[in-house]
Symmetry: C2
Subunit: 330 residues, 2 copies
């Protein structure tokens, strides 16, 4: 029900996902009267079920109020289905804070993990990287950053079948004082963890693909991600304006369009949609609120892949192995 466009995007995206994933089953959670009319000839698809939920969490609603008062919201019902084992993962394009609060309350944390983290893939010159936390936690301690590193590494191992992916920690490069105390202490924990820790990554290293996983505080991560989005938008609209300036540039635009479209496709943020809330005893994924059908179907696919590849089992196993060591270090 959530996101900027609601069911007009989420339902077609769900149908698209189903067509592309012949083994998948989907539960659409929300107001039946809003969802059913959009199903068309897929209404009878045996891999598709509508689960009615009366309420909707608003985009600007207080997460704590949504948690307390909206027991029959689509978000709450969907997360309950994960808790009950009736769904392997849930996905929402709605209120991030509410999704986080309800997911955490209902699903609880995995053993050894103190806080959930938002993990997103980002494009790089060489392919892509994963960064976490992107905004679930501000004021992280070293042990939290350490846990983010473990969770990110296990996600990449599981979902991308990559052995010993590289883990870096976001830092600044001034020679004398490299980063703050928290980052230094977290780096020590990661260095002793047995993960493939490569040390510091600076801001520009994110997009140079210096590490498969980049660990940071949610405040820093959120700012870096949004600053990048803002810059890309500015450059994109600058490009558009200049190509529209006069008939000559409009002609140039026609000629250059196929190339520009290839560039656009290559870095298309829609294919990177779907932020996994890692650290919970259940898979909960957040889509960008402004997602279109392609973007939302990519996010469904990410939730599906996370469940299919048993990301949580892998995190639990590694944490069980590491926690005594980590406790000894700290």
């Amino acid at each position: 029900m959530g996101g900027d466009h609601g069911p007009s995007v989420t339902v077609p995206a769900a149908l698209r996902f189903l067509a592309e994933h012949p083994a998948a089953h989907l539960l659409l959670v929300g107001r039946e009267d809003a969802l059913r009319p959009l199903l068309g000839d897929q209404a009878g698809n045996p891999r598709l079920r509508v689960v009615h939920a009366e309420e909707v969490v608003g985009g600007h609603e207080s997460p704590s109020l949504a948690l307390r008062n909206k027991k029959d919201s689509s978000m709450r019902v969907a997360i309950n289905l994960v808790k009950a084992g009736e769904a392997d993962a849930c996905l929402s394009a709605g209120n991030t804070g509410a999704l986080m609060a309800i997911s955490r309350f209902v699903l609880k944390m995995l053993p050894g993990i103190d806080r959930p983290a938002i993990c997103v893939p980002l494009p790089t010159t060489q392919g892509h990287t994963h960064m976490l936390d992107l905004g679930a936690n501000v004021d992280c301690g070293p042990e939290h950053l350490f846990q983010f590193g473990v969770m990110g590494a296990m996600l990449v191992e599981a979902m991308e079948h990559k052995e010993r992916p590289t883990v870096g920690i976001l830092n600044i490069g001034e020679e004398e004082i490299k980063g703050n105390e928290v980052v230094k202490a977290a780096a020590d924990l990661l260095r002793a963890s047995g993960l493939n820790f490569i040390g510091n990554v600076e801001g520009d290293g994110i997009y140079q693909g210096e590490a498969d996983i980049i660990v940071c505080d949610g405040f820093v991560g959120n700012v870096a991600l949004k600053a990048s989005e803002g810059l890309a938008q500015m450059l994109g609209s600058g490009l558009k304006e200049e190509f529209k300036r006069n008939w000559l540039s409009k002609l140039a635009a026609l000629v250059a369009m196929p190339v520009l479209n290839r560039v656009k496709k290559r870095f298309d943020h829609r294919q990177y949609n779907g932020a996994v809330l890692l650290g919970l005893k259940g898979i909960s994924v957040k889509s960008h609120g402004s997602a279109d059908v392609l973007a939302f179907s990519c996010a469904i696919a990410r939730a599906y892949d996370a469940a299919e590849n048993r990301v949580l089992e892998r995190i639990s196993a590694r944490m069980a192995q590491l926690t005594p060591a980590a406790a000894g270090e700290s």
Copy 2:
């Protein structure tokens, strides 16, 4: 002497600056044997003087060692000239940490300012903004962020002749927990300061020009700036690659080139070169190490403008006015 290219860039940039600023005088500080041969027909220019300094601070040298041991480095001698009142500002493309350490040691802080901050202009969809701190300080307290706000506002008032420029604080937008405690407390101080404080700015707001001055911790600011640089590089090289892919796209590149060059020029980072180290009793400016002649001459012009427009006097006056009030607030 500093930067990736040394005098081969800094001297031609100095000559270019002199030609464009008929009232300006320049002191070139460094090894005479390296500088003099590059002066050409300007060797006798009465507005240009070479000040010999025997040593050079290396790009990767420890700032504290450079401060202690290199008393006759070009950097130290240049800053001494500012201290002695023989120069109104100094500029270096060298080791940032060393420039900061030496500037702080020699020039000392302005009354009421605890720490220096690196302030840079950044392009926006509407023009440009100024952001600080970009990496001089990690682990800032609320009073430091508050001081950054005052310094940034006074810089913009003085250099851009803008009355009551808007000041925002970088934050993240999750509804419930907006930012960390430090940012919240700093926002309270800024709100009570009499500055034109507009509240929170998220990462994408930087490039949307939401505020004339954006205040942040040096860690966050450095990461945001470098992440932006990295993203721009990635998009730029992606564009280049796609235009070079085959003869058709190469043809398209030819047609599109004038438009692409206009976009490039519009957001050209070289015109934004020159980070002012604010808060010191003297103007010290850092150029990007990789600056070319155009970029370095822009940075000289920024140092010149900062001195010409009496940025420091304005900061001092405002701090004198605010400090009792700010102390009362905290």
